[in-house]
Symmetry: C2
Subunit: 153 residues, 2 copies
DNA sequence: GCGGTTTAGTTGAACCTTCAACCATCGGGG
DNA sequence: CCCCGATGGTTGAAGGTTCAACTAAACCGC
């Protein structure tokens, strides 16, 4: 039984294309800046940020994966690299022998502190400076709606 | 001379985090669906789409890179794979001996035609169905503003 | 038409992500 | 207590992306 495709109308087309372009260019730009200035991709920066905000600057691998929006496997590989760089350390979890705890080293914290201003400046310049306060508000609502919709289904 | 960082205020923080999460999850979802249903990542799909819409279903490598939002290098690698899959063919450019023309094969077009309905359905389900018409309009304006801002600077 | 500078495109290495397979441990039901 | 399914995490291979280096041809000024 054939089901008719609900194609996008011209407005939706235009919206989708614009969204694709904007989000791709934005992320590429920030990623390249971060790589240039801090020597790490945005995904790794995100991991360090999550650790820095966690109590004791440490998290179980699963929770860290969740917080950083990463798969378990990806996080495992990433933490291996971050550990080699001396920014993160692994420890055994005392309450669950399967568990591993990732914790941010002082060196990792310092690297993050050094990278943050430039990155924030980039986010401001490339995103917020281009939008009116009303648009920022709209973007927040849209993103929150979307995130809920996506993780809910 | 120290320059003060213009940190994000709480509202901007929240917006940025929500945006990051939403766009990441949205793209991951669509990417996984496309990989599952059509056996290609979204970036490759994009290349086929651009070719399919070009006159004669062909484009110079540079123009294709531009249209698909890809670096030259990335496109070169990608087209190599697409060619191996039989979906794209390379030809020499008659007017510029440096040039290469990528052209969509019938098989590539058929693959795209088979993949499109499912993908469009995904875009609709994961994006448009979650937003009000007003929000779709807002998202279009925001994205267009942003794209212009980013490529302009 | 010569020489230097762009432009077009490719290549290989390093790196990142994904996927599936895997091991170890935990927790609950009989 | 023991078994079994679920959970936590890692691993290796395959695939995708980036970066820098490179070749070749076109363009430009003289």
């Amino acid at each position: 039984m054939a089901v008719m495709t609900r194609w996008l109308d011209p407005d939706e087309q235009r919206t989708w294309r614009a969204y694709l372009t904007a989000s791709r260019v934005l992320m590429d730009t920030l990623d390249r800046e971060l790589q240039r200035d801090a020597g790490m991709p945005h995904a790794y920066y995100e991991i360090l940020v999550q650790l820095s905000e966690a109590p004791g600057r440490q998290l179980r691998m699963s929770q860290l994966a969740q917080a950083a929006g990463s798969s378990r496997s990806r996080l495992s590989h990433a933490v291996a690299r971050l550990e080699a760089a001396g920014w993160v350390r692994r420890e055994d979890c005392p309450t669950d022998r399967r568990g591993q705890i990732a914790l941010l080293t002082d060196e990792g914290f310092a690297t993050l502190a050094a990278a943050a201003p430039g990155h924030v400046e980039g986010v401001r310049r490339h995103l917020f400076d281009a939008l009116s306060p009303a648009q920022v508000d709209q973007l927040r609502r849209i993103s929150e709606t979307l995130a809920e919709h996506l993780t809910g289904s």
